[in-house]
Amino acid sequence: MVAYILKRVAGSIAILLLIMVVTFLLMNAIPGSPFLTEKSTPEQIALAEAKYGLDKPLYVQLWNYIKNYCVGDLGTSLKMQEGTPVKDIIFHQGKFALSIKLGACALVIAVLIGIPLGCIAAYYRGSWIDGLLRVLTTVGVAVPTFVLAALLLVVFSVNLNWFPTLSGSLPDAKSYVLPVISLSFYYTCYIAKLMRTSMLDAIHQDYIRTAKAKGVKTHILVLKHALRNSLIPVITYLGPVLAGIITGSFVVESTFSIPGLGKYFVQCVLSRDYPVIMATTVVLSALVIFMMLIVDITYKLVDPRITLTAKEE
């Protein structure tokens, strides 16, 4: 087990390094200089580039990034908030915390609502409840996040005035409602669909029939015997869910005017603030990769049938 975890951690670090290299190359592939404006003279640009070390050869710059990241130095912003350490922008101005809070809420909601919905649909298979849930979840995975966010905003904030239009820094519980619903809706539906299929699979297994023959009550059968085994596909899906929630946060944070990391990432890509792009990409990727790691380890812990060392087919 320890060997497996170590191997996975090493792999994750390798992927992060790769992402750094790719991001660095992509950033530098954008033609022109980040300091290029209509007013600036070539001398000014050269001066500014020298100040931030952009005149050095690419491999030196890249090596500096990697060296500094290892000791936790994320550099300073070039444009968005000139001179401010990127670490402060991301972690101390509440951007990271805000996105994490939003994402965590969405993830929890998606799991807590999606799984029971899937169980209910499987339990009442063929009845009108199942039919209703199937229609809901099928439509749910076809509605883009930004459409849902916009519709919720118009109906509940503008017309009914139940929730604030600008969620801002999410000061109260009320301001969480609409962003979290928009962010989690797709995944709630997807998890419910996945759960239904996997629950139906589990119900048809022999051990369930045996338990039934021995007189176990139906609800215990579903909740105790079938649920445990049908959770595995859902757990494996949680990694992609997190990645998707971060993606969705770009849209949701723009729509509800939340000053989170997602919104900031889009802005800094458009304004070509190299250190901020690099830091945001690495932080967000690290988050996703870390979640994938945890999911993989949990997955192997939950399902004893999966041997840790065996080669995958």
């Binding site: 790769l18 992402i19 592939a29 033609p31 099928t138 509605v143 889009v266 890509v269 990409t281």
Partner: protein, 454 residues
């Protein structure tokens, strides 16, 4: 003789009594004649894999309905623009910010007039920033006759009315002279039947076409834009899915067929790409590719470059993104399928009989991979449409005056509190397209995947 013998052994049974008990005749155990044998053979028409799949797909009501609705969307997107007189990029200056089925004041006047005249041409319905007809030669074709005339000065706020049975069929009416659909005063236009070479063709109309979905702030017809956007979105989805199909299936097939160290290395690469949070890279790619693509468009002269530059940098970079990052799922599925098939007995048998690799691939592997290929490609289309709309929503996909469903939604969001319907139409079309494609894909999976056959 029989009786005592039966008593002797309890196991001895009289054959006659058995026949009697079960109601059988003596000749029931005779061997069957040729005729009888033939009547026992049931002949079924052999059904091919595709016929079987088609039959199963047809039996699936939900998928059939979804397919029908998707075909309607295709008609809307590809045939619709030919049926309406508005173009996605034309701006109608007098018809800005109209609601669904609303007419501007100007259109209202002409609409009332249109009910009382045969045909007309209204300068007020012209698109573009100039609503006046500049001076010059014009030609009108109506009911097989040609009317050519010259305007000595620019024509503004006027309607050319056609009254083909009158002595002066072409009549120039000032808009101020129209009251409740009737024109009170007009000047006849002198015409000849031969058109000058530089004459501009004017198309007469008999009715004012409504702005079914309304117009936007620049006076562009939203239905025309939605049709165009749907077309762009569907094309992006299909092309991206085809790119994924080609790259993913080739990569997966090579990896699966070669096996060993080649497979190991290729699959590590797939895992690497798989674990990169792709949207972060996609956003960067979109920004990075914009300028190089523009430069490429300007430098190249070949047909391919021209076609690409018509699409625009936004769309081409979406294709590149798909080619770089999104083929991994397809590659994994195909590799798995190939690995599984390689071990099948009939493939071993074919190898033992001396079949070449080409023959095995063409006759055994490919036909068995078609099911997963079709299903994955079909389900890739909605996900590509999703990604494109997401990027356009963030302002990175297609750029104005081009439109996609995502960019239309994004434009609509700016004015959503005042004009919510501008979001509703493209959003509903987008949702319907994605929903129906998902359902068709599910139906195809049920129809093509024999493992689900029960």
């Amino acid at each position: 003789m029989k009786e005592p013998f039966a008593k002797l052994s309890p196991f001895h049974v009289n054959p006659d009594s058995i026949l009697e008990t079960f109601g059988l005749k003596e000749d029931d155990f005779a061997s069957a004649s040729g005729e009888e044998k033939e009547s026992m053979v049931e002949m079924h028409k052999s059904i091919s894999y595709w016929q079987d799949a088609l039959r199963r797909f047809r039996a699936n009501t939900v998928s059939m309905v979804a397919l029908f609705v998707f075909l309607l969307c295709l008609v809307f997107a590809f045939i619709g623009p030919m049926l309406i007189p508005y173009d996605y990029s034309e701006q109608y200056r007098s018809s800005q910010k109209l609601g669904p089925m609303e007419y501007s004041k100007n259109e209202e006047t002409i609409r009332a007039l249109s009910k009382n005249v045969e045909a007309f041409y209204a300068t007020g319905l012209r698109p573009g920033s100039l609503t006046a007809l500049s001076k010059g030669n014009y030609v009108i074709s109506y009911k097989g006759k040609t009317y050519a005339f010259t305007l000595e000065k620019a024509l503004d706020k006027s309607v050319i009315v056609m009254q083909s049975d009158a002595e002066d069929p072409l009549r120039l009416v000032k808009e101020s002279n129209i009251k409740d659909g009737v024109y009170t005063d007009y000047t006849a236009i002198a015409y000849t039947e031969t058109a000058a070479e530089d004459a501009t063709v004017l198309k007469l109309r008999t009715y004012v076409f409504p702005h079914v979905f309304g117009t936007d702030s620049q006076g562009r017809d939203i239905m025309a834009r939605t049709m165009y956007g749907a077309r762009v979105s569907i094309i992006i989805g299909v092309v991206a899915a085809l790119i994924v199909l080609v790259i993913g299936s080739l990569y997966g097939a090579i990896s699966g067929l070669c096996g060993g160290p080649v497979d190991f290395v290729m699959m590590r690469i797939v895992e690497l790409i798989y674990s990169i949070p792709e949207v972060l890279i996609v956003l960067l790619l979109q920004v990075v590719l914009k300028d190089p693509l523009q430069a490429w468009f300007q430098s190249g002269t070949s047909g391919f470059v021209k076609a690409m530059s018509d699409l625009g940098a936004g769309i081409v970079s979406i294709f590149i993104t798909f080619a770089v990052l999104y083929w991994v799922t397809m590659a994994r599925i195909i590799r798995g399928q190939v690995l599984q098939l390689k071990k099948q007995e009939y493939v071993t048998a074919a190898t033992a009989l001396g079949a070449s690799n080409t023959r095995i691939i063409a006759k055994h592997l490919l036909p068995n991979c078609i099911g997963p290929l079709v299903i994955t490609t079909c389900l890739q289309i909605p996900s590509a449409i999703f990604l494109e709309s997401f990027l356009s929503f963030l302002g990175l996909g297609v750029s104005a005056p081009m439109a996609s469903l995502g960019s239309l939604c994004s434009d609509a969001l700016e004015t959503i509190t005042l004009y919510p319907y501008r979001l509703v139409f493209p959003a509903v079309i987008l949702t319907i397209i994605v929903l129906t494609l998902n359902l068709v894909g599910d139906g195809l999976r049920d129809a093509l995947d024999p493992r689900l056959k029960k």
